[in-house]
């Protein structure tokens, strides 16, 4: 399939080797790389700036590292980290679950399903997350009870909305619905990135439809889904801090509560920062290993 062909073997003759004495002199030639003085200057300047920053971290009493150490592993903070992780997990699981459904709706042959999925993605990408969260939090204002039954007909069971949803539930719902719009596009892009020939080959072999998707398409789609999905999960993880507007005891909310009481703003912000950095690092490491698993058979 290559456009170029190999050069003919034994084509034009290689120039004849110079005589022995000349070859010896050529053999002693060494290569001197070009110097880069400006590059060295830039390295020095950057190093100085870094040192200044490190020095400031160590010596500026405003950081209050003692307070930082006291709170970093305090039980109240650990519990808040746990809530943040829960929000991330539920948001990711529900968000990507719904996202996969929406992606296949958008790829469906039915114009109606395509339109609905498109509309959903359009709406949830257009509304800021914080606005959505407040809407969900105030759901009871619109529907004070939720009823299950025949659509437009009689209902069988009904629940008090706030009792069913709750603050945590509203937060998860908001995060997941928001996440689903983005996840749908990521999954759709991944499925589209798989060569159409793969589905044809699977179809020509009579492999059942669901199996074609699960065994042939998705594992290949994962290669382009994973980096984007990891980005989304990390941004959702940090995005959980927005939930603090709903007074849910996640990391950022808890930190605000504590520094509101003791006034130690900077060290407590550092507590939150370091937890976010640590856990994002863990996610990145997990991402690296998952990507390696799905790289099977990839040509280097």
């Amino acid at each position: 399939m290559s456009l170029t062909s190999d050069p003919p073997r034994g084509g034009p003759a290689v120039p004849a080797a110079p005589d022995a004495a000349g070859a010896d002199a050529d053999g002693r030639l060494t290569v001197v790389p070009v110097r880069h003085p400006w590059r060295w200057l830039a390295v020095a300047a950057t190093a100085v700036l870094l040192l200044q920053f490190a020095h400031g971290l160590a010596t500026n009493p405003g950081w209050e590292w003692g307070v930082f150490a006291e709170f970093f592993t305090a039980e109240v903070i650990l519990r808040a980290v746990w809530v943040t992780l829960q929000l991330t997990c539920y948001g990711t699981a529900l968000g990507f679950g719904l996202g996969v459904v929406l992606a296949f709706m958008r790829l469906s042959a039915s114009p109606f399903l395509r339109l609905v999925a498109h509309g959903y993605i359009w709406a949830f990408r257009s509304i800021p997350l914080i606005v959505q969260l407040l809407f969900w939090f105030n759901l009871a204002y619109l529907y004070d009870e939720i009823q299950f039954g025949i659509p437009f007909g009689p209902g069988f069971v009904s629940f008090d909305t706030m009792g069913l949803v709750g603050a945590m539930g509203a937060a998860v719902l908001g995060l997941a619905l928001h996440q689903a719009a983005y996840a749908a596009e990521i999954v759709r892009a991944g499925v589209l990135s798989v060569d159409a020939g793969q589905l044809q080959a699977a179809a020509s072999l009579g492999i059942p439809r669901l199996r074609q998707i699960r065994r042939i398409v998705l594992p290949q789609a994962m290669r382009s889904i994973l980096p984007n999905a990891a980005n989304e999960i990390i941004s959702l993880f940090k995005g959980t801090s927005i939930v603090s507007v709903m007074a849910i005891g996640e990391l950022f909310y808890q930190v605000q509560v504590i520094y509101g009481r003791n006034g130690r703003v900077v060290p407590l912000l550092m507590v939150a920062t370091l937890w976010y950095v640590l856990l994002t690092t863990v996610l990145s490491v997990v991402q690296h290993h998952v990507e390696k698993r799905f790289a099977k058979g990839a040509t280097p």
Partner: protein, 253 residues
């Protein structure tokens, strides 16, 4: 001998362009039919309609006496559900120009996937059969390799083994050597010749005139969506009756 494939008055358009303009063709059991023709003549589309990868607009195609993508009731052809089409396809092997091996599965997994998932064969049985097939195409030692690490010729031989794993009644080849470097064409044609000697019923779309002369029982020449001429290779290739066939052969020979 009976007809394995019967194609009757098949028409097919893509938009306003009619690619197949009334094709009639018969392929007898155990014979090799080679389809020749300039690009755009509809030969690949015809091949794809035989296993219903492409739907026809009118006409009918039967393989071993059965319609592939439809059920007939009176004067109407009802399109079958996908599940049923998939089941009927397992009896028809298809080899693509660009191989279309599954890159994330090993050679062995490529071959065993369809027997296990479509025919519900026990895994051990499918694996043993796959090893035997790899032996047959000369790639016994490549079972654990990924397709990306094989040459084009090796990939196409794996693709042939994958199609054979379903023990199809009919094998379809869509320009199986067109994507290969010239020095790799021979190894693939050798495998196909070997299958021909064993009496496998095949339709091969190709540009390899020498292969057609050597292996074909029938050569079909297509141009602009119709069958221009067909017959034994000695007739069609050496004493073509139609001007269009002569013009095509003079360009490729």
């Amino acid at each position: 001998m009976s007809a394995m494939v019967e194609i009757r008055s098949v028409r097919k358009s893509f938009g306003s362009h009619e690619v197949l303009r009334g094709i009639d063709l018969e392929v007898r059991t155990g014979e090799v039919t080679v389809v020749l023709g300039p690009s755009g003549s509809g030969k690949s589309t015809l091949l794809r309609t035989v296993n219903h990868l492409e739907k026809v607009d009118s006409g009918r195609i039967t393989v071993d006496g059965r319609l592939v993508g439809y059920r007939r009731s009176g004067d109407k052809l009802y399109e079958l559900r996908e599940r049923e089409v998939l089941r009927r396809r397992t009896q028809i092997g298809f080899v693509f120009q660009n191989f279309h091996l599954f890159p994330h599965l090993t050679v062995l997994e490529n071959i065993t996937e369809a027997p296990i998932s479509a025919l519900k064969r026990p895994r051990a049985e499918a694996v043993a059969a796959a090893h035997a097939l790899l032996e047959r195409v000369g790639l016994a030692e490549k079972a654990g390799a990924y397709p990306g690490h094989l040459s084009g010729g090796q990939q196409q031989r794996v693709a042939i083994a994958r199609a054979l794993a379903l023990e199809p009644k009919l094998l379809l080849f869509d320009e199986p050597t067109s994507a290969l470097d010239p020095e790799l064409v021979g190894e693939v044609l050798d495998v196909i010749k070997d299958l021909a000697r064993q009496g496998t019923t095949m339709i091969v779309v190709t540009h390899e005139i020498g292969f057609a002369r050597e292996v074909a029982d029938t050569v079909v020449f297509m141009d602009e969506g119709v069958v221009v001429e067909q017959g034994p290779p000695a007739e069609v290739l050496d004493r073509p009756r139609q001007e269009r066939t002569r013009a095509f052969l003079s360009k490729v020979l």
